[in-house]
């Protein structure tokens, strides 16, 4: 089994804004800048996408839940991509789904529309049932 198999494969990854999650190690850039944000909940489900074989793309529909203490204008980004997935104006709670298709971990970032600061982020891991093997023949194919 791969080391990644020890990762949690179920349950929510819930990252709050820095004011609620200052004790976590993944509070994002906003935490580093110590800027207060109105994010009460930013969750991404499922936390892990499971594929049959290591290295394969994994497909899922990701549900993202956002709860803000005050209405504001925000955009959701996939880390490393400049174009936002979705933006909202003057919302305090929001839930939506996005298609997931990746062979490696994807991090979603919630950014303030004006400052472009990351105010929350959460990732979806990719794991697998069968480990990839260098063996040429016996488990190579299927």
């Amino acid at each position: 089994m791969s080391s990644s198999r020890t990762l949690l494969w179920c349950g929510a990854v819930v990252f709050s804004g820095m004011t609620q999650a200052s004790d976590t190690t993944t509070a994002g850039a906003a935490t580093e800048q110590n800027i207060a944000t109105p994010v009460e909940q930013f969750s991404v489900l499922p936390a892990t996408c499971i594929t049959l074989r290591q290295g394969r793309k994994c497909f899922a529909t990701i549900t993202i839940k956002l709860t803000l203490s005050a209405a504001g204008s925000y955009c959701l980004y996939q880390q490393g991509i400049d174009e936002p997935i979705q933006c909202w104006n003057q919302v305090s709670t929001h839930q939506f789904s996005v298609p997931f298709e990746s062979s490696e971990k994807v991090v979603y970032q919630l950014k303030d529309q004006q400052s472009h600061h990351i105010i929350a982020q959460a990732g979806v891991e990719v794991s697998w049932v069968h480990q990839a093997t260098s063996r040429k023949r016996r488990w190579r194919l299927f």
Binding site: M1, R5, W9, C10, I50, T51, L52, R56, C58, F59, A60, S127, W128, V129, H130, T133, S134, R135, K136, R137, R138, W139, R140, L141, F142
Partner: protein, 278 residues
């Protein structure tokens, strides 16, 4: 047939040695590898015998361990891609190349059956059926050619079997499988063709004078074949569990189905299960 297998074996070994001299390929990975899986399934798996009744829960469920071990050219493997439940085999790799290989394997190709035992468990009795003698399982030694592409597997087995201990039979088994990956699903579509020598078919389907009765007249079969088509799917449920579903349809030649013993011409197996990967 033993001579044929031996001749093919000699030719393949000679060919392998020559190829090694020419290509000087790096030796294949000879490290110890293993994998164990357990599968529990509910299934509808009618036996080839028409008189065998399916009525208990055990007839519609199955638990199977799939063991794969490989070391230094030797291997034990179970064919996880076919819905058949008796596909374990032990073998040795004679030639191993990137896209093809030649193995010598020991494998059970045909189920046996015990009419007396079946009749004891049947509610409906079949006069004369108990006189039919037990048929042993058909295990044998085979030479297997395998061809691989990224999503394609093809194998050709030439096997010698002697389930009766008296008349050696042989079979030729061709199998082609294609993997389609659709999102998180692995879907295997396969077709197979097996040819059985007259000795083999007659051992399983024939009725001798000693076995014959009013309902089971003497029957001597010719050679025969089986055509198989199947679809088999796997879907990951977690890092340890996968869902499995499969269907296999087998069509036997009339040399089997015309036997007075009552062998089905068409058999369709359905299977739904979960698989745990250790």
């Amino acid at each position: 047939m033993h001579r044929l297998i031996a001749a093919l074996l000699f030719m393949s070994l000679a060919g392998s040695a020559l190829a090694d001299d020419i290509e000087s390929e790096a030796p294949d990975d000879d490290s110890f590898q293993w994998q164990v899986m357990f599968e529990y399934a509910v299934q509808y798996d009618p036996t080839v015998l028409e008189v065998a009744e399916h009525d208990s829960f055990n007839d519609f469920s199955s638990g199977s361990f799939y063991l794969d071990v490989s070391y230094n050219g030797f291997f034990i493997q179970t064919d996880r891609h076919r819905t058949s439940t008796f596909s374990g085999e032990f073998g040795y790799q004679l030639i191993e190349r990137d896209d093809w290989g030649l193995d010598i394997i020991a494998k059970v190709y045909l189920h046996g059956f015990d009419p007396a035992s079946i009749e004891r468990n049947n509610d409906k009795k079949h006069p004369g059926f108990e006189k039919i003698t037990e048929r042993n399982f058909g295990g044998g030694i085979a030479l297997r050619y395998s061809y691989f592409e990224e999503n394609v597997f093809f194998s050709a087995d030439l096997a010698t079997l002697d389930p009766s201990g008296k008349n050696e039979g042989w079979l030729f088994d061709l199998y082609y499988s294609h993997l389609t990956v659709y999102q998180n699903w692995d879907i295997y579509s396969g077709v197979g063709l097996s040819y059985f020598s007259q000795e083999l078919v007659d051992y399983y389907a024939g009725v001798t004078e000693q076995e014959s009765s009013t309902h089971y007249p003497v029957y001597q079969s010719g050679d025969g074949y089986k055509i198989e088509a199947q679809v088999f799917g796997l879907y990951p449920l977690s890092q340890d569990w996968a869902f499995t579903a499969g269907m296999t349809h087998s069509l036997y030649s009339s040399s089997f189905s015309q036997s007075p013993i009552g062998l089905r011409k068409n058999i369709t197996l359905y299977k739904l299960g979960v698989r745990y990967v250790f």
